[in-house]
Symmetry: C2
Subunit: 665 residues, 2 copies
């Protein structure tokens, strides 16, 4: 850090405070309290520790900074502006306005330097674990002296982050795995929206809790810059465990009437109090969004120092690359998230025989994992059921990161958020598995992956009542509908090995959003295609399996119901009732096709029935009011698979009979 008089430092910190307060006031909406309280710690971190380059925001060697407490977005935007990132004063002035680059909560992809989308509490905390995990894994692959091994992952987290269960799961995971390059500053301000944290949080000893997770914990006064600096140094020296620094702050610091109160959390100061604050801090009332010249000059010095750091890093990187060409190529494959061309052909090579699609998926995974070095993943304690293991690739274990298989424990929520961390950082394509039922436990990070356009893959098995005896607590009914409702999430429910290969290929090729593979527990009968298979057609989301002459209606099915529908159609054909069979493994992909394709698969002039052992609401869009949706409108039951098929009307004979009645109606 460049030397500076204490007065200048105070002025520089107040610049952050006042940019935040001005921004919220101008937007007439937002959260001034957190930035005003946390400005000191952020300033110390950014000027004395954080490695960054505003000219190359995604510089591989940078430290990562995550604002888990995303409501304090003006803190981040102010820092990005002052540090010279592509974030102009105009951006700050358009805080929270339509089409601005400074939305109410930070959104990944809007502004360079924003590493994650944050706001839903706890998510950023767990994302950071994913960042640090990825660095450790990549470093272990690349060997000594590699250019990714010495970055730190910093975050500012809030009371709310620590109360959320997802952060408890992630903290336990990080502590267990000894992720030493994780350094979190806890903005311990004692205030939440409803008042003091003592209302509902003070019974908990946060220090002791994090020590129990295996973390290194310190406490420091939030106004003491040297103390914060020393704590950061000590945290960085603890390379065998993650660190939490409790920074005791005053929310809304500087506001005479509102500092330390919950009223400053989520609303503008108001014109009068903004003025009073500026007076109290010795700040000019005008102009708004003031950055004093000497503060600008100071940040220029900071940037020069950071540039020198980068230069040193670059020299070391070049030397390492020269000495380790193979490892350098591997690094590049990670940076590009390289996937070989024609991955569909590779996935389709030597397909296994029809079986449970989870088993087929397992076989395909073994083929593609060696081809895609950046593919890593695991399960929330269901690897034996989800069949997500990359065989022979080894497991990640405490302090040992060379494997490709992750053991998330029974922590689905953190698993989803850690996968997001890996995906945000962009050095891995993560896949994570659990039962489809427990997609509910990880729904918040799934949504954020879709919103943030992250390449993440979900392997959700045991995808219907046909998982059998475990009963309704484990049998998904509404989950397909609920997941398909999330914009930009592609839900693939393959029916056989061809479709499963296509689903994996789609997940690997798709760079701008998450893909779910929804797989059966139970063995499936083969799909017999009378329409010659075009593997690319599967990637269109829906295609015709059978198109017999004289067909008078279309039966649409997905996954395990494709062979069922085929058996029902065979029974109907014997009665002279002839229908088409369309398989639509990915409804989102299908609906995005040109009308001509959609009309070919589901001819609009004829009636449409859909069979899917799930809620089915979304299929009415295809079926229409004279259509039929054979779904399930109640919860499942604990019973063997065959008994359930009978009970819920999903035998071939029952489907045929229901279609017959419908056609007659």
């Amino acid at each position: 850090m460049p030397n500076a008089r204490p007065e200048l430092v105070e002025k520089a910190v107040n610049t952050i405070r006042m940019l935040a307060a001005d921004g919220v006031q101008q937007a007439n909406s937002g959260h001034p309290g957190m930035p005003m309280g946390a400005a000191d710690m952020a300033f110390v971190l950014w000027t004395r520790h954080l490695r960054f380059d505003p000219a190359e925001p995604r510089w591989l060697g940078r430290d990562r900074f995550l604002l888990s407490a995303g409501h304090g977005s003006m803190l981040l935007y102010s820092l990005l502006h002052l540090a010279g990132f592509d974030c102009a004063l105009e951006d700050l002035k358009h805080f929270r306005q339509l089409h601005s680059r400074t939305p109410g909560h930070p959104e990944y992809g809007f502004l360079p330097g924003v590493e994650i989308t944050s706001g839903p509490l706890g998510q950023g905390f767990a994302n950071g674990v994913g960042f640090a995990l990825g660095h450790a894994m990549l470093a272990a692959k690349l060997g000594p002296g590699n250019p990714v091994s010495d970055a730190f992952v910093y975050a500012i987290v809030s009371d709310g982050d620590l109360m959320e269960g997802v952060s408890a799961e992630a903290a336990s995971f990080a502590g267990h795995h000894k992720l030493g390059r994780l350094v979190y500053l806890y903005d311990d301000n004692g205030i939440t929206i409803d008042g003091k944290t003592s209302i509902t949080f003070s019974g908990e000893d946060v220090t002791r809790r994090f020590e129990a997770y295996g973390w290194h914990v310190q406490s420091v006064d939030g106004r003491d810059h040297d103390g914060i600096d020393r704590a950061l140094q000590a945290a960085k020296a603890e390379l065998g465990r993650p660190s939490l620094i409790r920074v005791h702050t005053t929310i809304g610091f500087g506001s005479p009437a509102k500092a330390g109160k919950s009223s400053v959390h989520g609303a503008p100061l108001g014109e009068a109090e903004l003025e009073a604050t500026k007076k109290a801090l010795g700040w000019p009332l005008e102009p708004r969004f003031l950055v004093p010249d000497d503060v600008r000059a100071y940040w220029a010095e900071v940037r020069a120092e950071k540039a020198a750091q980068k230069q040193a890093w670059r020299a070391a990187e070049q030397a390492w690359r020269a000495a380790n060409p193979e490892q350098a190529a591997l690094l590049d494959a990670h940076v590009e998230r390289w996937v070989p061309e024609r991955i569909l052909d590779r996935a389709r090579a030597e397909l296994p025989a029809p079986d449970a699609t989870r088993k087929v998926s397992q076989a395909i995974l073994q083929k593609i994992a060696p081809l895609v070095p950046c593919l890593v993943g695991g399960s929330a304690d269901l690897a034996e059921s989800n069949l997500t293991e990359i065989k022979g690739a080894g497991s990640v274990a405490p302090g040992s990161f060379a494997g490709r298989n992750l053991h998330f424990g029974i922590r689905e929520h953190a698993m989803g958020a850690i996968a997001n961390g890996l995906a945000y950082d962009g050095l891995f394509v993560p896949f994570v598995g659990t039962f489809l039922q427990f997609a509910d436990y990880m729904r918040p990070p799934v949504r954020l992956a879709a919103l943030s356009k992250l390449q993440a893959v979900y392997v959700w098995t045991h995808d219907s009542i046909f998982l059998g005896e475990d009963g309704p607590t484990h049998q998904p009914i509404e989950h397909l509908t609920a997941l398909r409702a999330i914009p930009n999430l592609h839900v693939c429910r393959p029916a056989d090995p061809e479709e499963t290969a296509a689903a994996w290929a789609h997940a690997l090729q798709r760079r701008d959003g998450p893909t779910a593979l929804v797989l059966t527990r139970q063995k499936l009968a083969p799909v017999k295609r009378s329409v010659p298979l075009d593997p690319e057609a599967i990637l269109r989301g829906g295609y015709l399996v059978d198109a017999p002459a004289g067909a008078t209606f279309t039966l649409v099915a997905t996954g395990s119901e494709v062979p069922l529908a085929q058996a029902a159609l065979e029974a109907l054909a014997k009665q002279g009732v002839v229908g088409r069979l369309a398989s639509i493994p990915c409804l989102e992909c299908f609906l995005a096709q040109p009308k001509a394709w959609r009309d070919e698969v589901v001819p609009p002039g004829q009636r449409v029935a859909v069979v899917e052992a799930a809620r089915g609401t979304e299929w009415w869009q295809l079926a229409g009011r004279d259509g039929l949706v054979l779904g399930i409108e109640r919860f499942g039951s604990s019973a063997p698979e065959k008994a359930l098929a009978e009970e819920y009307g999903f035998t071939p004979a029952q489907v045929a009979a229901r279609v017959t009645r419908w056609l007659a109606g």
Copy 2:
């Protein structure tokens, strides 16, 4: 506990082990390991501590026993059988079969003595906190000597329960609030599905973690009955804090080849190993499902002791009732979850003026709360935004339970599960609030409330993009679709004070499932009804607001889009385009109506358009293929409400124009 020779005790415990192993073997599916390992602790708890009456399973004075580790269901079923509950050997023999009363995981409502539906890990842990909270709250209302104050809530919890974030949230809540009558036995067997817990959990010091939450923690050998007994006594003596007893067990105890291994967790022992186990335990190979006569006789003695306990309790209760007639009446109101007749009329009395529906809800809550003593609730740190406070009713605080307002902290998942605990126990109707966006964080307990037919109420505010500047991380899009997909959940999205009153009345009258109130942040224009209002019609889920002569189509809307649709229809009427306006605040209720009513509201001969500022997928069922659904198929944006209305096509002029184009198409 009746005296018994150690040999008889061992035999009695082995009876539980072998009933479980036989049951799983017969079903050829299930989880034998946990019951075999935890049989000792369960036996000590049930015989020496738990207060119960098999003849009156819902006896108010009973202790509650929850099996959070629901996969060990055969442990619970075996205990219920041996203790004389209405659970026959035949029930055990039909474990996991269709229409049996012994499903794979325990389900509330199937078998007397099953207090909760468990299986999704962590839920039972948090449910228990709800039970204990309810007892403390009711006891505080009833005063000294009341008959509900001395019950304990016991649970057996597993590694998986403790890894899930929901239990972290619930443990912190319970510790903070000093819920002293909560005693959890942790089946610490070191094994999960994927292997030893050391793969991903051993980095965590569970004892220290729970001490950090403010719990009393002990450790004990899982085979040492007297040790377990002493630990339970000590836990019960700690009335100022919850207790966790780490019981070190061997999963699958007794199985020579599989004890202590993950292979015994979730699959039958197999015939050979079952035989080997019986030999190792000195157990007859036949008959299966053996309960030796002396074991039966022993349980008869246990029952006699429990009956004497109950008699003493009953005598004290009668004396208390005689001395405290008013309090006794209040107790009965809780036991019945009493709601006055014609609650809709009471809710409608002196309705506030149209405003944000969350504000209207707040006003109605103030009116109905005094009428419904069992109604309690709160928010996950958003009481100021959800407007869920019962004014003047006081807050629940550590060790102080007389208030009606709960402060859940930023712990939505535990909030939902604690509400379920209150609802399972049946002494309260809980309402809990957060932003609709964060319904995702509490989705697992919402589903379980629907599955278990619990009367719980959700107050989800900030229900669309029109919450404005907080942006897409806070703006629900897919949530209505995802929630409506859950069977038995009623989602009410009222448009004005009349509909908000009806939604509250519905939530209070409905005994067999949860009800969601989905409310706006923003102020709404009044709904002008040209069809005379029948308040009961609102309860039918959908009704006509305007039915002008010459209408050629129906426009359906919900919530904030009802006044919007009305404005659009007014604009269209000026152009001579005349449409009906149907408000459907509760789609599930509407679809359950007789066809005649549905056809009256949405005449089938005419075209249908639906406007809802959400995903809208489920509305195609009403709209059909020639219909129109004006929804939102992408994520929201951070911007002021008015800018968003314009951007997303939800101004009256835009809606009118889109309807015009559609009618022409």
